[in-house]
């Protein structure tokens, strides 16, 4: 089985639209949405949840105010500014490290495991799906991403799948790194804007750092042909194979509103471009 992860650095470049197109075009696949902060792939899939669970991904330091003597040791040792000068613990700043627990001379603080998200496995019109949802205000999206990948691996084994298609998160930090560990191929989706190119350089740095073979797609490539050309030149210089460009096409959004991928629409230039991009990648990795 080969796993293909969609990343972009910059958000909103079309990762999920391309992942949705691949989900239509690929045979024998399992799908995973590792953008647990803002998961959208399911909106194209009409999933029916088969199994779900609470994910407990973080500790929170909880203080017993009766036992607290107000000595201030917790305030002194906390490196995350989570203990206020009146020794109240801020649940959003607390990393759950337990340094305050160790420091407290009267044992007034304990770590309590928190529900940080929910994971789901589902049957969908385009195949089995693993996804998750971070609870509002909760952290540790990286760990929740690892949980989604674990569930996706189980689904792939059961389905004996040939492909695992993973929609990733924007950025280059924790959830992106968690989604990239162990994947076979990354497809980078960019757009011809100065921001798109700037952010592409940084995400290319990440995939190089983890030594994952990567391919490039330029979405909305006709928006600014001269920046698109600059991105093409950068890709050449970086030895980053360009799978192709996708023209701006209002049908992408129309299809999304209808809960479909644009490759399922007739006469869509973007859909046709995504089909040839898919074919090109399959040739390359065959």
């Amino acid at each position: 089985m080969k796993s293909i992860l969609f990343l972009s650095g910059k958000g909103g470049t079309g990762k999920t639209s391309l992942a949705g197109a691949f989900a239509v075009l690929a045979d024998d696949k399992v799908l995973a949405d590792c953008d647990v902060d803002a998961a959208n792939l399911h909106l194209l899939l009409a999933p029916r949840v088969v199994d779900e669970g609470v994910y407990q991904g973080a500790n929170l330091a909880v203080k017993d105010d009766e036992a607290c003597t107000g000595c201030g040791r917790c305030y002194e040792v906390c490196r995350f500014h989570a203990v206020s000068s009146s020794y109240e613990i801020d649940s959003y700043l607390c990393e759950g490290c337990g340094a305050c627990v160790t420091a407290c001379p009267v044992g007034a603080i304990e770590l309590v495991i928190q529900d940080t998200g929910r994971w789901f496995t589902a049957e969908s019109r385009l195949g089995p799906l693993a996804s998750a949802e971070l609870l509002p205000g909760e952290e540790t999206s990286g760990k929740l991403v690892a949980q989604v990948k674990q569930k996706a691996a189980e689904l792939s084994e059961v389905a004996n799948a040939e492909r695992l298609l993973i929609d990733g998160a924007p950025g280059i930090g924790c959830p992106v790194i968690a989604s990239a560990s162990g994947v076979d191929i990354v497809v980078l989706v960019t757009e011809p804007t100065l921001s798109g190119l700037h952010d592409l350089r940084r995400i290319v740095g990440v995939v190089r750092h983890f030594q994952i073979p990567a391919y490039l797609v330029i979405n909305k490539e006709d928006l600014n042909p001269s920046v698109a050309k600059e991105i093409g030149a950068y890709a050449k210089e970086e030895d980053l194979p360009l799978l192709g460009g996708v023209p701006y096409d209002p049908k992408v959004t129309e299809a999304m509103v209808a809960g479909r991928s644009v490759v399922e629409e007739d006469g869509s230039p973007a859909g046709a471009a995504m089909r040839s991009i898919f074919a090109r990648l399959m040739e390359r990795i065959a």
Partner: protein, 280 residues
């Protein structure tokens, strides 16, 4: 006053709104710009700041003194992040898992752990168009963005109206950027993806007790469900920016919208006034 520009979904136009708000408002009062998207900062591409300061942000990693270590395993037992393992006569530290909390050092009975700084990223500060500009840059390959955002926010000047460009998503970096804001402007697009992620962003702002208003960008491309949701939830739609290829082109070139189309300045000033009204 602190105005955070956030979104849930990426690529909806946070930076466009933040930059144009700052540039418009700077003609009337003291502002300050802070790009808190330290994974993929873009505001500098529009504001071309001149940087005069640069500082590094570090976390402290444990370093084991093998001469003193008895391999008792207390450090590994205390670490909540599985960043230290003791295997027989060897102590392994996993830098990418370490949060730099220092608990291992606290529990070591032999005083065999020292801490050494490990660079996570940098902060660059300077000015653009007469107002302070700063941003953070997470080093490529590093996972932890929040310490850089916290360090960046140390530059906040209470005498100025601060415009904070937040990262996309709803996780730790977004929370770090939003915490302490007087109001959050949530930028979305009128599509199912935009709406889904707007709901998540509203959820985060609510738990942080930050009042919200919405900016609909690329208005006209999808459906009217975002406007319907905002009405149901009583969330004001403070500005709508129509879908327009020329606006998209200006963005692609790194051109500030109000520079090219000054008629937008009044709309961004009205947006700022509305934000102030929400806080007052």
């Amino acid at each position: 006053m602190r105005i955070a520009i956030a979104s849930g979904k990426g690529g909806t136009g946070k930076t466009t709104v933040a930059v144009n708000l700052a540039v418009s408002l700077a003609e009337q009062e003291s502002v300050q710009f802070m790009d808190c998207d330290v994974e993929e900062p873009n505001a500098h591409l529009f504001l071309n700041p001149r940087f005069t300061g640069r500082r590094t942000v570090v976390k402290l990693l444990p370093k084991i003194d093998e001469a003193k270590c008895t391999h008792c395993g207390a450090c590994a037992a205390a670490c909540e992040f599985n960043a230290i393992a003791v295997l027989g006569e060897k102590v392994l530290v996993y830098p990418e898992l370490c949060h730099g909390c220092g608990r291992c050092r606290m529990v070591c009975p032999m005083d065999a752990i020292q801490e050494v700084p490990h660079e996570l990223g940098i902060i660059e500060s300077g000015s653009s168009r007469g107002f302070p500009f700063s941003h953070g840059l997470l080093n490529v390959g590093e996972a932890m963005a929040t310490p850089i955002i916290h360090a960046l926010k140390e530059d906040l000047d209470v005498g100025r109206t601060a415009i904070l460009d937040a990262p996309p998503g709803t996780g730790c970096p977004t929370i770090a950027a939003l915490a302490g804001a007087d109001v959050a402007l949530l930028v979305t697009e009128p599509t199912p993806f935009g709406l889904h992620d707007l709901r998540a962003a509203v959820g985060v702002a609510r738990v942080l007790n930050v009042p919200v208003a919405v900016v609909i960008n690329r208005d006209g491309i999808g459906d009217d469900q975002v406007a319907y949701y905002c009405r149901e939830e009583g969330i004001p739609i403070a500005l709508s920016i129509p879908f327009d290829r020329q606006i998209a082109f200006l963005y692609s070139e790194g051109t500030v919208l109000v520079d090219a189309q000054p008629e937008w300045k009044g709309k961004f000033l009205a947006l700022a006034a509305q934000m102030k009204g929400m806080v007052a």
